[in-house]
Amino acid sequence: MDTFIQQIINGLVLGSVYALVALGYTMVYGIINLINFAHGEVLMVGALTSWTVVIGLGKLGLPGWLLLLISLIAAIIVCSALNYSIEKIAYRPLRNAPRLAPLITAMGMSLLLQTLAMIIWEPTYKSYPILLPSEPYSIGGAVINNVQIMILVVTAITLTGLMYLVNKTKLGRAMRATAENPRVAGLMGVRPDTVISATFVIGAALAALAGVMYAANYGSVQHTMGFLPGLKAFTAAVFGGIGNLAGAMVGGVLLGLIESLGAGYIGAITGDVLGSNYQDIFAFIVLILVLTLRPQGLLGERVADRA
């Protein structure tokens, strides 16, 4: 039973990260019908930036949580600027191009970011310093530490904040309007370019946050770290219903749980034929099942009406 609870905790933590990244995917897709293949790399840049800051300021003797906070802010700033530029330089010019072009550009951007990160930070795996007191707490036979608690709490707060932003603020209304019908929104005085940029920036901030959390939890950073989580987060977004924010959150958490429980029990289920090294393909299996059986996702999709 304690394995079960442990897997649940691990799943929720992983799921929180997925949820944060999935939101970025889903918001962008909802507004411009583009899978931003480079989004996973934004997570990576956030993590690596934060690592650089933490290592750089490490000598100052600041308390761990402060270092974490400063590095997080730095990561958010860098990632926001990055994503904003990516949208402006690489995606905006292709809004009316044949539909394969932005997809290829996005893939190229993903590769570019990975390569640049490899050049800037060198290909080695770097360990992320432990910044919060690491004594674990016990819950029903399972353990949870401060980092994990922080992840759950921060994610919950962020998600609430995002829902407030989207539902109660002017920007949020503009985003929802543009997501539903960009042309009409434009006629109502909303500037689609501004809204789209804002969407990318918000998505980047969430990904940066996810990157820092991921790094703090798993303890290592490297230029390829964003790829798989990125793909899985996209799966989560589709799982929950693309374009649907609540869907991305639900999808993310559920996917984290599925992956965690799956990895934990797959040996038992398959009589040890398949082991937890197959963990990565759970997300893909979920994706294939969802798209085959319920393509609109759990909570239904919300995509722009490009009539």
Partner: protein
């Protein structure tokens, strides 16, 4: 006029025949680059059927490359005889399946795999199709990487080594042959084999393009609903596209296995799939000359650049080596070419000018009626009127 064309083809033909002989004077490495480039051309031609003709964005194409390669590797190497005593007993001289069994078998298997992997994607729209095929590619790779336990089939990350060379009509491709007073090392022997395969592939693609099947594929690509309304069985044709494209991949994979003598899951990563897609799209999607040029450029150019990489590497203190440079270039090419020439470097020609009657705005925006606007499953539609 006709003589001119024939002369052109003759010259090209001769050029292609003697190319390796010239190149090997500068070192076998150069011929090797050409050989690998030819394999990529074959891959790109295959993917072009799926992406270029039928408009299905397959990001997991490398899976078929892997199927062909592992098929050859398993049937013509010590892997199975080492891992399974029963097989070793049945084949006391080792498993050396001849090329005329393995290549067709690899093609057929890859073709079946293509249809199998394509089947769940038939109802998906563009972007989702891409992600699902990507997922399949990854699943294949993970299985290749992990099927070394509980039974060792693929030898996992260590890969399969000692794969046989091809031996055809008494000519052993792996050994240097001596003809007409010249040396034909392994790389040159394989060149001719690959060249024949590529030329055959080009012929097949050319003919498919100009046929009822080819038109049906393109109709699906342009507007799937309209294609269906014209009586085209889109499901079967999409499966056919996947199957045919996969066959090319499988043959190319088998050739890769025998040429390299060694294969491992590393060669079949997502990056490979992406690169092959890039070759097709950057070259000029659906347009044979463009696809070939795209494949040649993206595969051969970075290799050639190794020679430039030397000084760069020194300059940046080892951070920029040849493989990083290659990656960087491919990434920049993908972004740059899409931004400047979204239809590719050498797209199909724009024949036909605007007609005499003044075109209303609708005419030029017509191609934006995307196939993605297929009404979702019936129960969800709100009436359009």
């Amino acid at each position: 006029m006709k003589d001119n064309k024939t002369l052109q083809y003759l010259l090209i033909g001769i050029g292609l025949l003697i190319l390796p002989l010239i190149a090997q004077q500068f070192g076998n490495a150069w011929v090797r680059i050409i050989d690998i480039a030819l394999l990529y051309v074959l891959l790109a031609l295959g993917l072009n059927i799926v992406v270029g003709y039928a408009g299905l964005l397959d990001l997991g194409y490398v899976a078929f490359y892997a199927v062909g390669a592992y098929m050859f590797g398993l049937l013509a190497s010590p892997q199975l005889t080492d891992a399974f005593p029963s097989i070793a007993a049945a084949f006391p001289n080792g498993l050396h399946t001849p090329w005329w069994v393995v290549i067709p078998l690899g093609a057929v298997l890859a073709g079946l795999a293509g249809m199998l992997l394509g089947a769940p994607t038939l109802k998906l729209r563009g972007d989702y199709l891409a992600i699902v095929t990507l997922g399949f590619g990854e699943i294949v790779r993970v299985f290749m990487n992990n099927l070394d336990a509980p039974v060792n089939i693929t030898n996992g990350p260590k890969g399969i080594a000692q794969i046989d060379d091809i031996s055809m009509f008494g000519v052993h491709f792996g050994k240097t042959q001596h003809l007409f007073g010249m040396d034909f090392p392994k790389v040159t022997n394989y060149y001719y084999l690959f060249l024949i395969l590529v030329l055959f592939a080009i012929l097949v693609c050319y003919r498919l393009e100009r046929s009822r099947i080819g038109r049906a594929w393109m109709a699906i690509r342009e507007d799937e609903i309209a294609a269906k309304a014209m009586g085209i069985n889109t499901r079967n044709l999409k499966l056919l596209a996947f199957g045919m494209g996969a066959t090319f991949g499988g043959v190319s994979g088998a050739m890769f296995a025998t040429f390299q003598g060694f294969i491992s899951p590393e060669s079949f990563s997502l990056q490979e799939s992406v690169m092959i897609v890039a070759m097709v799209v950057l070259g000029g999607i659906g347009h044979l000359p463009g696809v070939i040029v795209g494949a040649l450029l993206l595969s051969a150019l970075p290799e050639v650049l190794r020679y430039v990489a030397g000084p760069l590497q020194a300059m940046t203190g080892g951070r920029l080596d040849a493989s990083i440079l290659r990656q960087l270039l491919i990434a920049l090419a993908m972004i740059g070419i899409m931004l400047s020439r979204p239809r590719g470097l050498w797209p199909s020609p724009e024949h036909g000018k605007a007609a005499a009657t003044s075109p209303l705005p609708q005419a030029t925006h017509m191609h934006l009626a995307p196939a993605e606007q297929i009404p979702p499953p019936v129960t969800h539609i709100a009436p359009t009127e």
